[in-house]
Symmetry: C2
Subunit: 306 residues, 2 copies
Amino acid sequence: MDESELAGKGLAISTVERETGLAKDTLRVWEKRYGFPAPDRDANGERVYSRDQVEKLILIKRLIDRGTRPAKLVRLSMEELLARTDPGVGAADDPPQLVEILQLVKTHSAVELRKRLEQALLEQGLEEFLRATAAPLSPIVGDAWMRGEIEVFEEHLYTETLQILLRSAIAAHSRPDGAPRVLLTTFPGEQHILGLLMAECMLWIHGATCVPLGPQTPVREIVLAAETQRIDVVGLSFSPAYPGQTAIDTLAALRAMLPAGTEVWAGGSNPALFRRRIDGVLPVREVSAISDAVVNWRASQPRHVD
Amino acid sequence: MDESELAGKGLAISTVERETGLAKDTLRVWEKRYGFPAPDRDANGERVYSRDQVEKLILIKRLIDRGTRPAKLVRLSMEELLARTDPGVGAADDPPQLVEILQLVKTHSAVELRKRLEQALLEQGLEEFLRATAAPLSPIVGDAWMRGEIEVFEEHLYTETLQILLRSAIAAHSRPDGAPRVLLTTFPGEQHILGLLMAECMLWIHGATCVPLGPQTPVREIVLAAETQRIDVVGLSFSPAYPGQTAIDTLAALRAMLPAGTEVWAGGSNPALFRRRIDGVLPVREVSAISDAVVNWRASQPRHVD
DNA sequence: TTCCATGATTTGTCCTAGACAACCCTACGT
DNA sequence: ACGTAGGGTTGTCTAGGACAAATCATGGAA
């Protein structure tokens, strides 16, 4: 049924689906239309993908998530694809402080990385750390990975380190119980929680109450939770990999099922959130915009100004 | 393409796949073979699943994960399925302390739940808390959900609360740097990290060094990380929902790619891990078995006994 | 020029129908 | 009691086709 990758023989289509995020149907239809990927076949006529093809597919997927169309990418060579990875934010433009941290990720110095991030947090304070370090770092690390400068496990190491740091920053102090009460989660299929965690920090700073539900809560359950937990705002996070149309549709469905008094805030680096306005949903472009959102929310409340 | 669930019209097959964990192919072939699920069709002839069918599918999936075969389940009615949810560990058998906590989950009292867990942690100490509270609670909560006694969001709330508690228990103190150095992660497709976190706590107690990579690291990346981080033991966790055969195959592949000196420990409530022994992989049945594993590892090391 | 509406193309997902290998279980024979 | 052979079960794969929604490109009006 599934042999994953026994001794470098190649990968089955289901493994490729998991590792790239491209559906089996998509992989097959690309093969027919564009001639890529062109996997070998095993004795049963089943597709066997090489490691190289999978790496190229992952790269293509990331470029598509960023907004390029498949037809312009799938036929390109690896070199041509890499030439497109420069996101306009070249390494030269980045603040030297961030480049320094990226360097630690590249050399997978887990302990040093942790120390450096802790130090930055202490120097800058949580809010500035989020704005100037944590938030801009994620796309930089992502781009570095695309250019092959860091490995996947190094990205994992970075994510995990940052997560531990942010969590302990919140947990160390008592939790506020001010308004608004914000439920934080993602839709099913969206696994990235770093954005959620940064939002939680920002909300915590501004005295809002957070009810974190972890990732992947179905819409109906979000509505149930919002009712029983007396939620004022539902906060969702969307990474670039999340299908934009699904995000918009599901947000609309959530909006419709939620009481009118409950707001919906959507953040993350997914471009679909900001292409067109979604009725009854507040797009949050940056972590720093969360503080404005909180202030505005409080101002809009009839008499509950504290 | 995807309409998720606009105004209760029903769910598309891709949504059902995400929410149940059953592949589209599986859903279609069950329909042909067993006559269930039997979704309506929209104007384009595409399947439209009702909320009821999806709930039944989720229940069936959990029962299958526990070891029952589909043919014996798929034709059953909802009542007959529910009759099978009693896992032999009836609520009556459970320690009153755990039942009490379950009660807090049922009433979604987030704050109370947090306090109660914190109190248990203080009373019992971390090791006993893991053994007597955290570890046995997860299946109890899962079963309560199957019987419809708690909602999905309540399960999320519980998981998140416990996670925060365990993370802060570790983060509050300095990290040990003793041997063995253990890399902790899951394979792609396995998202549950509670097991990983409990393992991390246990290892931390016993002075081992943990290198958490978060969930879903591809095998090749695990090997890379193990080499660069001078890892002695790779620890993997498997929930019941993870396909057993894939677990075994991928563990074997990992074992083959890893240096002989690096051990592989596999834990979690997935039954496949314990059905038959896997060459070169140490199965860890309970969190408490981790301490033995550490002791044995240290004894097996030539001269590094500290 | 800028803006909007229309038509063409691209693209992901869905459909049917069939095939097969690997697994589980049973029953038989040693 | 133990192991092995056969038969049923099950998930995943194949192919080729279809279509709606999204995007892009074109042309006309302000």
